[in-house]
Symmetry: C2
Subunit: 497 residues, 2 copies
């Protein structure tokens, strides 16, 4: 169905996405609601807009077009505009086919992802697409198509030669191995341009933690310059436009707490393809409170990752480790940054589990890129860390990203308001409740408030005496401290038996 | 996942639905976006709100609550509020199960429909539900559950004894038989409280057309009074809260132009159940340009209608007629009202097809309610129309609804700006393009502009000479007339061969 309306120039700029203003009553009768996506035809050319409606500003029979549109389209007041729903768009036809259980071809998937990336599909329309993937899981071929389309509809970085990367699927508190693996690899002359996310469901992401030490938001050209100088970087991927459709799909997945595994694979791999990675190690913690509940699921995922990786000639290894415990002592950006520096600087108070895990992953990545023989990687990585070479490289990276290379782990600012929690009885720590830990950190304000978080004085498995210190909470003000105390009346981080 | 924030009273009233204001940056970190639906826990009680976000008005760690909320919940500034996604809501769990292909029980469907009706599910969440129905078609039992839940979550009318109704599934231009069937039945003492919709995809609905003669928006009590006085009414169903979830589901179906048949059945039957109808005739035009393309589909639908009707002890008959042609000469509210009055007043210029179809349907309904023997209904209906009894009853209804009972068909105001279109060649009319006709009427402003529309001087099948008048367009001003003329440069209403 389509209608004809007369163009009315409105002297307002709105920025993108493009908006057309319709008379509210008339729009209602046409079945058009604010936010709907419409296809206009002006002087024979198509133009995609979002509908806004107004009782007063536009009379029936008219369609208001903002400055952004009339500057680009040479329309004049009174021109005839044909108005239709975007129903005939190629992407919408493809979504309908997917809803009916059909498998999609590459052009179809490309049209959907491209229209999502360029804001030509509404939230409701994107939801239909996401729902179709939830109901009929993607084939391996569709996963490949989705990954390719997502990468190609955003920025693409290209580095010559070997490009290594390390990715964690997440789900553990702390676990800031990336900030140790990157300087180890870069110190050995291997290119590792790491883009990371900020926290989504955890108290700190790698980008949040690195930001305690240096800026993390850069353009593609700036990143190339940093990597050219140091072989590595630790930047925020969200500052670029890597696989931009991914975020928009995520937004309509939240309200249902849907995160299908297929979506996880596409999200990760699309960003790797866009970054030009050709050697990748994936850290996959497996356990009941992580994202991957058991080894069976982990192995199923590994196969899918390998399928997609092979299509892009990416050499990939999945490193599965059974665990649910936090890695490191600190949780929250500043506390995690301190853990990382303590490891790199080889301080006495460094968390051993973080050192060991980072060295293990760095070693596997060294083997994957054929830097050494199988089995020799960890020893090499250990030496680079132990000799201070990794720390020197990290200082180079911090400097290249505009931070202070003379920082010391003990100079990192933590929340001035703190409170200690002690053991209510003598016994052994039999369980660390990741979810409660996350919740307390969030309530303290992490990751927005960098200096907030929880420092774990004890860890899983150890024996404690009644009254011994278990953990410490840090906040920027008294209010936040009280808020977290209130939450801790109901929650337990450590279970003692 | 959930978080703790401190309540901040905001001195603003927003009306429903309830809104909570979060700090934008903090909300982003929590994965909360404007428009998301959240579950707050205040003093141990749950409260469902929509999230708004602001850079400045709320500091991190706080949650702004508007007057509407704090007046009802006795919160004070600084109270601790637990914030969580509505993921654990019963309705969302049910939607997820449906997405996975499971069949739902009544309580599950009720929770979904009830949460839609009371604005506790967001547009995105409703979309997941609609998508699930598109992918796995509803079983007959689910159709029954949906109908029941939709009816029960809105207003319910109760009339004692026999309650008749007539419904058209739509898809033909004109076709205002309802306004003739209702007075015929009511004149014979049969209760027929007709609620109609306004036009959604056509140039006029029954409510739009009746509104030319009398007001159509009434409360439940007012309707009962009108029906008590006259046995019939012709009111707008949208003025009541009959099956309120239906409209909200429709809103997320538009952007994909989805209208599955199952949705049509539930929409129609839920409103009949809510109106207390127990005898129903459904007018189902079948043809390539109507909503039902062929007899096979029509018969499949009839079975589903009968299944649902039986569950509510509704005696139902589906009247299938193969046609795609407009019924009556006028298209648009005023022109259709004139056709109706010409039939009721038995004027010489009355459209014969409209008379015949209305009498046929009224006759079938008389047989369905056992007013007469099978086969005798049409003759009785014809006599009521021919004798002027139907017209007298219509005048009573017009008066009871607050209109002028002394109206004459020729006094109805039509658009002052008109233009005739004539045959470009001599031949026979072999096709009437319903879609073009709709489009021209819409462009003229119908149904918002009541006096706008198209009068068909010729009809399907007749022979015309070159230059003979084919149809006339009516507009309220010159601008609209020109707009429609422009559209008619590209469109043809009649095809002559």
């Amino acid at each position: 169905m389509s209608y004809f309306l007369k163009a009315l120039k409105l002297d307002v700029e709105t920025g993108s996405p493009k908006i057309a203003l319709l008379n509210e009553k008339e729009a209602w009768h046409y079945g058009i609601h604010a936010g709907d996506h419409l296809k206009l035809t002006l002087n024979g050319k198509p133009l995609y807009v979002s509908a806004n409606t107004s009782k007063q500003r536009v009379k029936p029979g008219r369609i208001g077009l903002y400055k952004d549109i009339w500057e680009k389209t040479r329309i004049t007041n009174g021109d005839i505009v044909q108005v239709a729903f975007q129903e005939s768009a190629h992407s919408i036809q493809a979504i309908k086919r997917r809803l009916l259980g059909k498998r999609l071809k590459y052009e179809e998937i490309y049209s959907i992802i491209s229209d999502i990336a360029t804001d030509q599909l509404s939230k409701v329309q994107i939801t239909y697409f996401v729902a179709s993937g939830f109901m009929h899981d993607y084939t391996n071929e569709e996963l490949y198509f989705l990954t390719k389309a997502m990468a190609e509809t955003g920025d693409m970085l290209h580095f010559p030669g070997l490009v290594a990367d390390k990715h964690s699927v997440g789900g553990l508190a702390g676990n800031r191995t990336t900030m140790i693996v990157v300087p180890i690899l870069a110190a050995l002359g291997i290119k590792i341009p790491k883009t990371s996310s900020r926290a989504i469901t955890s108290p700190a992401g790698t980008a949040d933690t690195m930001e305690v030490l240096a800026p993390v938001t850069f353009t593609v050209d700036e990143i190339k310059k940093i990597v050219g100088k140091t072989n590595g970087c630790l930047v925020w991927g969200g500052g670029l436009s890597l696989a931009p459709a991914d975020d928009k799909i995520l937004q309509v997945s939240y309200p249902m707490s849907l995160e299908p595994y297929s979506k996880m694979i596409v999200s990760i791999m699309a960003k790797k393809v866009a970054t030009g990675v050709n050697h990748l190690i994936i850290d996959m913690p497996v356990g009941p409170t992580t994202k991957i509940p058991d080894m069976e699921t982990a192995r199923m995922l590994e196969k899918k990752f390998q399928y997609v990786a092979a299509k892009f000639s990416i050499k990939l290894k999945v490193s599965m480790i059974k665990t649910s415990d936090p890695v490191g002592f600190g949780v929250g950006p500043a506390l995690e940054a301190r853990d990382v520096l303590r490891v790199l600087q080889q301080k006495k108070e460094r968390p051993g589990d973080l050192s060991r895990k980072a060295v293990h992953l760095a070693g596997q990545l060294l083997e994957l890129v054929d830097y050494c023989k199988p089995g020799a990687g960890a020893t090499i990585a250990w030496k680079v860390l132990d000799s201070g070479r990794a720390w020197r490289k990290m200082r180079e990276i911090i400097k290249a990203q505009g931070g202070d290379p003379n920082i010391d782990s003990e100079q990192i600012t933590l929340g001035a308001y703190k409170k200690y929690y002690t053991a209510a009885k003598t016994g052994q720590i039999v369980f660390t409740d990741n979810k409660s830990l996350n919740l307390v950190c969030r309530t303290l304000g992490a990751p927005s408030v960098k200096l907030a978080g929880v420092y774990l004085n004890k860890e899983y498995g150890v024996s404690v005496r009644k009254g011994e210190r278990l953990f410490t909470i840090y906040a920027e003000n008294k209010e936040r401290l009280n808020l977290a105390s209130k939450a801790l009346e109901k929650l337990r981080i450590f279970h003692i038996k």
